[in-house]
Symmetry: C2
Subunit: 308 residues, 2 copies
């Protein structure tokens, strides 16, 4: 029985920031090693221009291999219709189409107005409806839902309006993202409670939180208390946003697992084994800025013997 | 109107760990600079053996100067009757007598059984009752309330039993400490809710949290939700416990202020100014392991213009 679903996004959100390019073999090794710990969903890559993000130029190959693993859910980010087409061709389980709530951030990120991105989302939804055979689920990722490094404050009403539009157009799931670490426990609770009221149980809603200002786990706790049961995180806290200076650092997967399991919430993830995968990854990416506390301090004495 | 009372403990919990000894003048400068930001209570020092903790050998002088500042509450740690006598002589406002709930930790920390420490606490309570003139409040600090690096798990029932004994003997306030970073949001909520049930509003109860395993602020959030309105923290997260390996790191004062104020809870503390004091302190203590996120990432855009 799983209480909290944790999705690993380091292969996309983490690797896109690094100066080095990880080999396809190493990426697949990361996915399969972490899958063996009990992590069953991965944002495996992003179908963006290989010129803009050379780190993820092997998206098709990574996804095509990962989808062969039974029990593993593979999602891929797509910023536009072309990316979604590639994702469908690679056989992914979910297409994660990202739009920023902040107009300025969306322009910086995909060089489109929010309205233009919504129109593009509608085209992706149409494409999926027309897709024969394996049809990925359509996930709407709402970036900068809690604030923006360019425009500052983001109104909750704008998050709700955009979410409602995207669900009407065909989103099967939502990911609400604090892309730049501007959220606090009060705003987290408010936004997720409102969205839950808007959609009930019909639409799964996940939280994608960054730890930029130290509130990552406190915000995750507030989200848990607000009923959120699906989270994005990144092994070693790798990640950030290329268009958001200082926004480095997803919530570390291992720290999120530690918090949930310590509280008695089951993630289905073997934490000691996950820490071994993190160690291996650190050797493979010696220049990457690894974060996280539990890997540094170690598990509390007796933690393994408790009912985790 | 203050919603959350934050007490600075870096001068005791932080400085006792450092290889360097800060001058008395610099300590007083720290206190007065941070007081000017709105921090009104300090654990200014500890009346321990100067041989064991040479960093705090000027406790009497620091306290005697600090108590002259109107509006500033000065507390000092005392591990025994002798320490309490020195504290009274220095004119402190509060004596913080620390006992570990864990037998093994208390032995390591003060070379006494818990029972012996309770007897010593009773002597301090008697001394205070007999004190003419200025009489400090007696605070009982319960160390390792959520676990111990030596003995592992600590039972909530033992925390409650010890707290009840100490209040019966004359404790005016309680500080419940996660000395080694073993707490999680669920255990925090459970312990503080139980203690609130035991004591009602009669006894102020503060939380002293370490950030060893990354849960510091999440635990503070859980404590806030459990009704706790007084916290210990340390500028730059300085601190730890000499008898608890790996236990470094109080919750950073600046990050705790950031979280509370972001949520609309008033601390009375000017955060931009506090960050300046932190910068100065960092120059004065170049070898100290400063932690904290908000000083690194900066305040969110527009945060100052909001109602903080």
């Amino acid at each position: 029985m799983i209480n909290v679903m944790i999705r690993e996004v380091g292969l996309r959100d983490g690797l896109q920031m690094l100066p080095t390019v990880m080999t396809t073999a190493d990426k697949l090794d990361w996915i399969f090693s972490e899958f063996a710990c009990g992590v069953t969903e991965f944002e495996a890559s992003s179908f963006v221009s290989a010129k803009l993000v050379p780190q993820l130029s092997d998206a098709a190959e990574v996804c095509a291999h990962a989808v062969k693993m039974s029990g593993l859910t593979v999602s891929a980010l797509a910023p536009n219709l072309k990316g979604a087409e590639f994702g469908i061709a690679a056989g992914v389980d979910k297409i994660n189409f990202v739009i920023s709530v902040s107009e300025e951030h969306n322009q910086a990120n995909v060089r489109r107005s929010v309205e233009q991105s919504v129109l593009e989302f509608a085209r992706v939804a149409e494409l999926l409806k027309a897709t024969k055979g394996h049809r990925p689920r359509l996930v709407a990722g709402l970036a900068t839902s809690f604030g923006c490094t360019i425009s500052g404050r983001v109104l909750e009403s704008n998050v709700r309006k955009l979410a409602i539009s995207l669900v009407k157009l065909g989103a099967d799931e939502l990911i609400i993202a604090d892309t730049v670490g501007y959220a606090d426990p009060a705003s987290i609770r408010s936004v997720f409670t409102s969205l839950r009221a808007d959609f009930g149980e019909a639409i799964p809603i996940a939280a994608h939180l960054h730890d930029t200002r130290g509130l990552g786990l406190a915000n995750a706790l507030a989200a848990l208390e607000g009923g959120v049961r699906a989270f994005d995180s990144s092994l070693g806290g790798l990640g950030g946003c290329p268009n958001s200076p200082g926004a480095t650092g997803n919530v570390p997967t291992e720290d999120l697992v530690f918090m949930c399991e310590s509280m008695g919430l089951r993630t289905g993830i073997d934490l000691p084994r996950l820490l071994q995968v993190r160690s291996k990854l650190k050797h493979q990416l010696p220049d990457a800025p690894f974060a996280g506390s539990i890997a540094r301090a170690g598990l509390p004495k007796g933690w393994d013997r408790a009912s985790h």
